[in-house]
């Protein structure tokens, strides 16, 4: 199990309160809208404060690498709050994807040189896996690695790379004659170029990254990328699920508040059963999603009484994706015309919900992943 430092329920609630208050003050809706409109798509100053004042990126990184050594259950609180506030920033790509890949690689040198920077927020990392077909593959990359006098160079094109244009460190999956492997590439390396893409979810910047004979350092064993990426997927699925639940709850709360205040036909719309029952259905889906995410986080942390991590992660990704998409759409419906305007925040969640649902392949893919974990 990865969890080394224990934390009580009360401490988790305190953490939630602290992060929520901080984000409410510095990352409210208007701040989010300003941040996503400017380069690099998030508020760099806020990101620095989250790292230095609150120490958030360090939380789930082992103490040996400059972190606090908490597990994903603890980190899930932070992710839930960031999902709730739709805070743009490289938290997911740097802390979950990049740090997750480094840890999964078991590469002592890579971890001790790279993780402390991610932990203190001075380095933003990302993971470049996806190629032209958009699939989260673990083998068969068109991007190739060539050994050149004891060091490596990469050539190829990656796409849908989160924070690809602003990251300081890219972990890139590429083919080698000994099978797929993971490589570290530093921003500014020769032959590396990144271009930001228009995105469905305007709060998560995404880039295409081209590599041409770009110098790279092998991370983990040659041919080990398949296992590393499978491990990252478990960790990233439950982290995403925690974010999704936070965001879904925000949609539910928004819809409930509006249903209590908006009147039609001389009554609050929430007194009409068609609306009341819609909100009850939303509550049921969010409650179920919360349970799925929680169990996924506990499983990823290796709790003794938790189900196998791959099963719980597949369940969490499936249930939380569906729940978030459902409440994001119904939230707009409850708001009527105002819900369809650019000015209303409802579409930010709707955009995020669909992008999240498709992030690691989409429903058809994650359903097959779930069946595979059960041997079906």
């Amino acid at each position: 199990m990865t969890k080394t430092t224990t934390i009580t329920e009360g401490e988790l609630e305190d953490l939630r309160g602290t992060v929520r208050a901080f984000l409410a003050e510095y990352s409210g809706e208007q701040a989010v809208r300003r941040a996503v409109a400017a380069d690099p798509g998030y508020d760099v100053d806020l990101w620095r404060r989250l790292a230095t004042e609150l120490g958030l990126p360090a939380m789930a990184i082992p103490e040996a690498y400059g972190g606090d050594g908490f597990g994903l259950v603890t980190l899930g609180i932070v992710l839930g709050e960031m999902g709730r506030a739709m805070t743009p920033g490289p938290f997911f790509s740097s802390v979950i994807l990049a740090a997750g890949a480094l840890l999964a690689s078991g590469d002592e040198t890579a971890c001790s040189t790279r993780l402390p920077g991610i932990a203190d927020g001075s380095v933003v990392g990302t993971l470049a896996v996806v190629e032209a077909d958009g699939a989260w593959r673990t083998d068969g990359f068109a991007t190739t690695a060539r050994e050149d006098g004891g060091s490596w160079v990469l050539t190829g094109e990656k796409t849908l790379v989160p924070e690809g244009s602003s990251a300081d460190l890219l972990l890139v999956a590429a083919s080698t004659p000994a099978g797929p492997a993971l490589f570290a590439v530093d921003a500014g390396a020769a032959g590396l170029s990144a271009g930001a893409l228009r995105t469905l979810d305007i709060t998560r910047p995404i880039s295409r990254v081209a590599l041409s004979e770009t110098p790279a350092v092998l991370v983990g064993d040659l041919g080990a990328a398949r296992q590393i990426l499978a491990d990252v997927l478990v960790r990233a699925s439950v982290a995403l699920a925690a974010e999704q639940v936070g965001a879904a709850r925000a949609c539910l709360e928004m819809a409930v508040a509006y249903a209590k205040e908006r009147e039609q036909f001389g009554r609050a719309i929430g007194s009409f059963q068609a609306v009341k029952h819609k909100l009850a259905d939303m509550l049921a889906r969010v409650t179920l999603a919360d349970a799925a995410a929680t169990e996924g986080l506990r499983a990823a942390d290796g709790f003794d009484d938790a189900p196998p991590a791959a099963v719980a992660a597949a369940v969490a990704h499936s249930v939380c994706s569906e729940a978030f998409m459902y409440v994001a759409a119904e939230n707009i419906q409850v708001h009527g015309g105002i819900g369809f305007t650019w000015e209303h925040p409802a579409h930010l969640y709707y955009r995020r919900a669909k992008a999240d649902q498709l992030m690691f392949g989409g429903p058809a893919v994650y359903h097959e992943r779930l069946l595979a974990t059960l041997g079906v």
Binding site: Q273, L279, S318
Partner: protein
């Protein structure tokens, strides 16, 4: 951090295992061997009366064994043969017992021990508690819930069955309906109107009725699933002594709430029934393959969706148990779980029907085909019993989300 040595429940769990090892067989395995074992998927039985009577006798005997070994009333007071342990101990025991092949005791426990027992304990006089509680938990007395009437279902406070004062007690007149297990029961808890002029919630009184009294007539009602597990109960000038009153005169609504709160927790808890078996991943996976749909993308996807939701519902129950363990009060999970339970079973019934195909429509004798009718024909009841889907959603909307009440 989750090691069992540190868990105060561990000793209790060990004790439960030792008891079960001594008195029951472990369920063979989780592995599903298609075509082997019971071919039942249903919640309601369709058995002839003599078969059903034999099952009731087995249930009684197993409850007696539990009681005599200290597992018959885990949360009950010691003076009535209970253990005075927490509801969590109860849940732990249920989880462990589900690993063993034991008789299904639903006929006794879902309504009588799960709902009426706690109500008698909370609101009954000493004479009534002494007389019935140990007998119920020893498996001798089965209790039913005489709440619904032809004119009062969802709006339960609208009951019209009258109870009028006599010198030494009360005389009851009226008709109850949909009364599960009344054909096997010795007692029933009835809600009756005692003050027709008061606002409807304020004019009701609760009674415990001995069903062998003159004037009580139980008539079976055949259900759409074929069997007859619920009944009409006619009360014609039934004399009930005043010491069989539960709670205050005209205070019956409060008493009913105790029962209803326990009902939410009871519904969906069917660890050892055919329903529990068809909920397992292995069973559903076998259905997919054995029905020839192993490579059918649409069927695989529907199975995955249902499996994810079923598994998450199980995680939700675990989360509830963890919260209760740390001393929290039960939250809205009960109503959410009831809704999801009915929805999930309904989805499974229809997926199974589609996978089995036309072979569902006639009994060819082939294992695992026609038997899915049982679940299919039970499913509509799941959305009604214990409070309809619509009423559950009103409760969630108004009591959890704080939405405005229905204008009356």
């Amino acid at each position: 951090m989750t090691t069992t040595e540190a868990d105060p429940l561990a000793a209790f769990a060990d004790e439960a295992r030792a008891f079960l090892d001594a008195h029951a067989e472990r369920r063979s395995t989780d592995a599903v061997i298609w075509g082997k074992g019971e071919d039942h998927t249903g919640y309601f039985s369709e058995d002839p009366p003599e078969v059903e009577q034999a099952l009731v006798d087995q249930a009684r005997a197993w409850q007696r064994t539990r009681y005599e070994n200290g597992f018959g009333w885990i949360t009950g007071p010691e003076s009535y043969g209970g253990r005075e342990l927490s509801g969590v101990h109860d849940l732990v025991y249920d989880q462990i017992e589900a690993e063993y092949d034991v008789p299904d005791t639903g006929v006794l426990s879902l309504i009588g021990l799960g709902m009426i027992g706690p109500t008698i304990l909370a609101h009954g006089r000493d004479e009534v508690r002494d007389r019935y509680l140990p007998a119920m938990f020893r498996g001798e007395v089965i209790a039913c819930q005489l709440f619904s009437e032809p004119g009062a279902g969802s709006d339960l406070a609208g009951v019209q069955t009258r109870a009028s004062r006599t010198e030494d007690g009360w005389v009851l007149r009226g008709q109850k309906v949909w009364t599960s297990v009344a054909q096997h029961a010795q007692i029933g808890m009835a809600l009756c109107r005692t003050d027709p002029d008061a606002p409807k919630h304020k004019g009701i009184t609760a009674f415990l009725v001995d069903l062998s009294l003159p004037g009580v007539e139980v008539r079976p009602l055949r259900q759409m699933s074929g069997g007859a597990e619920f009944n009409e109960v006619f009360l014609t000038d039934v004399h009930v002594p005043d010491d069989h009153r539960l709670g205050e005169v005209n205070g019956g609504w409060r008493v009913a709430l105790t029962t209803l709160m326990n009902e939410r927790a009871s519904v969906g808890n069917e660890a050892s029934t055919g329903v529990a078996r068809v909920l397992s991943d292995g069973f559903l996976a076998a259905l997919l393959h054995e029905s020839g749909h192993g490579e059918d993308a649409a069927a695989r996807r529907r199975l995955a969706e249902i499996t994810a939701d079923l598994t998450a519902a199980e995680y939700l129950n675990r989360a509830t148990i963890r919260r209760l363990r740390s001393g929290a009060q039960p939250g809205p999970e009960a109503s959410v779980s009831k809704l999801l339970w009915a929805q999930n079973l309904t989805r499974i019934a229809h997926l199974a029907a589609e996978l089995v195909g036309p072979r569902l429509t006639a009994d060819t004798g082939e294992w695992g085909t026609f038997s899915w009718n049982e679940l299919l024909l039970s499913a509509p009841a799941f959305r009604i019993l214990g409070g309809t889907e619509e009423i559950m959603k009103n409760i969630l909307g108004e009591r959890v989300l704080g939405l405005p009440k229905e204008p009356s």
